[in-house]
């Protein structure tokens, strides 16, 4: 029994220590954002890798998500004789919830895993040590520019996801199932308020921060071997997904 309790205690302490390290890593990366010189070229490069390179997967998933909402929304609303509400239901669902969460999932899978693998490989091949030895702070060089880039790219990707999703729902609802185009858009116009857009924006910003933080942390501290890199990549994706959902719950309860 004592052994069992000591194991639980050891596990808890280890997890607390890890959480402490993760928060210190985030604070340090955020603080270094404000320390000159600003790495403008690196930030632009990472906006491309996080934003542009994830665009196709975000477009595709946004479009099909919208079409599914079109079908499911029509089926549910028809039971209540409220098909004309399809536009506003789609827009609210996408703007407030599905857009930020699903585009964050796509970016985690597409770019977050690549971040963890890249930094993990840099750790294994002593490239991070090389930066330290050149008196260059690797967190400022490798992590801070990615943080800024993700804060810029994530809201834009989410906005694109929302627009494409609404278009997908329009195609299914209006063109395929015969919902009136006027009611689809007028319902959206009258029911969607700025707070809905704001809520999605806040979520996408914080999800961008979570993805970059977790994936960079896991890669940066990966054990310096091939299995260490693969383990860091897997852990970064799983932990990002979980944290996105948990944080989404808290934000929703605050922003509702």
């Amino acid at each position: 029994m004592l052994f069992f309790l000591s194991q639980i205690g050891r596990f808890t302490l280890r997890q607390l220590r890890e959480m402490g390290r993760m928060f210190l890593f985030l604070i340090s990366a955020l603080a270094l954002v404000f320390r000159p010189p600003a790495k403008i070229r690196l930030i632009i490069y990472h906006i491309k890798t996080i934003g542009v390179d994830s665009l196709s997967v975000v477009l595709l998933s946004g479009f099909f998500t919208g079409m599914v909402i079109g079908f499911q929304g029509y089926y549910s609303l028809k039971k209540l004789n409220a098909e004309s509400w399809l536009g506003s239901a789609t827009a609210l669902g996408l703007l407030r919830e599905l857009g930020p969460v699903l585009s964050a999932f796509m970016v985690t899978g597409r770019t977050g895993s690549a971040m963890a693998a890249e930094l993990g490989t840099m750790r294994a091949t002593e490239q991070i040590d090389a930066l330290y030895s050149m008196a260059i702070n690797p967190v400022k060089y490798l992590v801070s520019p990615r943080l800024i880039a993700s804060l810029i790219a994530m809201p834009l990707l989410t906005a694109i996801f929302d627009v494409v999703g609404i278009y997908g729902a329009y195609l299914v609802g209006v063109r395929l199932l015969g919902v009136s185009s006027g009611s689809f858009f007028s319902g959206m116009e009258s029911n969607v308020v700025f707070n809905d857009v704001y809520s999605g924006l806040v979520k996408s910003l914080s999800f961008g921060l979570i993805i970059t933080w977790i994936c960079c942390y896991k890669g940066f501290h990966a054990p310096p071997m091939a299995t260490g890199v693969s383990q860091a990549t897997t852990e970064s994706v799983v932990l990002s997904f979980v944290l996105i959902l948990v944080w989404d719950y808290f934000l929703t309860s605050v922003l509702l």
Binding site: E126, Q127, D129, A130, Y132, S133, M134, A135, I136, N137
Partner: protein
């Protein structure tokens, strides 16, 4: 210039360094030899505080760098150049940009000055005109030379070489050794070489230290080291399986 005092380092239950004492002569090349996995690289990484000890001191000009804050530590590290075992070139950059990297990050030099200095260093290591290539396009020997050019580009006072010839054929290994000796003559840096390529590495070393059992068992000028009567040294030099060092 560099003095290691009673240095201890362990990883989990494994104690690697068990009280290392070592003094490195300024402006000379000291080679640390020892069996694979005896802690040579661990010791080397303590010299510029890439690793911090569990106990003990690393004194650079009398300053214990294990106790320094980040700002002072970066200042001290600026005096070091390091050639890593796998060269540790940044994959995403060309060879030119790798060598130019510390100049762009740490100095106010203009691009013209940087270009001139980088080309000069690349010429010195025999990679003139190859700057446009990426690390993935280079052979092992060329990577080491590019790594050496990067290590030397800031004109460091101290250069650490972590197994500079590992994985290279004997001809290339000799070439790298000659390059280290030649660049040391030109720049006059204090060199610390970790290697088990013996006896070839003796040709470029002023001093040789044997790391075994977690401590420096012997350090002497190269000639004296080679003629040492210590059974440890003799077994290591001759590569014998019988003796105080366990072969397997």
């Amino acid at each position: 210039m560099i003095r290691v005092v009673d240095l201890y380092k362990g990883f989990g239950a494994q104690q690697v360094l068990k009280g290392v004492n070592l003094e490195l002569a300024a402006g000379k090349i000291t080679t640390i030899v020892g069996t694979s996995g005896c802690g040579k690289t661990v010791l080397l990484k303590h010299l510029n505080a890439l690793l911090l000890p569990d106990r003990g001191q690393v004194l650079v000009d009398g300053v214990d760098i294990t106790k320094l804050g980040q700002k002072d530590l970066y200042q001290i590290r600026g005096r070091f150049g390091v050639l890593f075992q796998g060269a540790a070139l940044l994959d995403s950059l060309t060879i030119f940009d790798n060598v130019a990297f510390p100049l762009r990050e740490k100095t106010e030099m203009s691009e013209t000055q940087i270009h001139k200095k980088v080309e000069e260093r690349l010429e010195q290591v025999g990679l003139g005109g190859m700057g446009y290539k990426h690390p993935a396009e280079l052979s092992g020997g060329m990577k080491k030379r590019a790594g050496l050019a990067r290590a030397l580009v800031m004109d460091p006072e101290i250069v650490l070489f972590d197994e500079p010839t590992t994985g290279l054929d004997p001809v290339l290994a000799t070439g790298i050794h000659q390059l280290i000796a030649r660049t040391q003559e030109i720049f006059g840096f204090t060199g610390v070489v970790v290697s088990h390529t013996i006896p070839q590495v003796f040709e470029i070393s002023d001093y040789v230290a044997l790391l075994a059992n977690g401590v420096i068992e012997e350090i002497n000028p190269t000639g004296k080291f080679q003629s040492s009567q210590s059974p440890l040294v003799q077994q290591f030099i001759r590569g014998e399986t019988e003796g105080p060092i366990e072969a397997l």
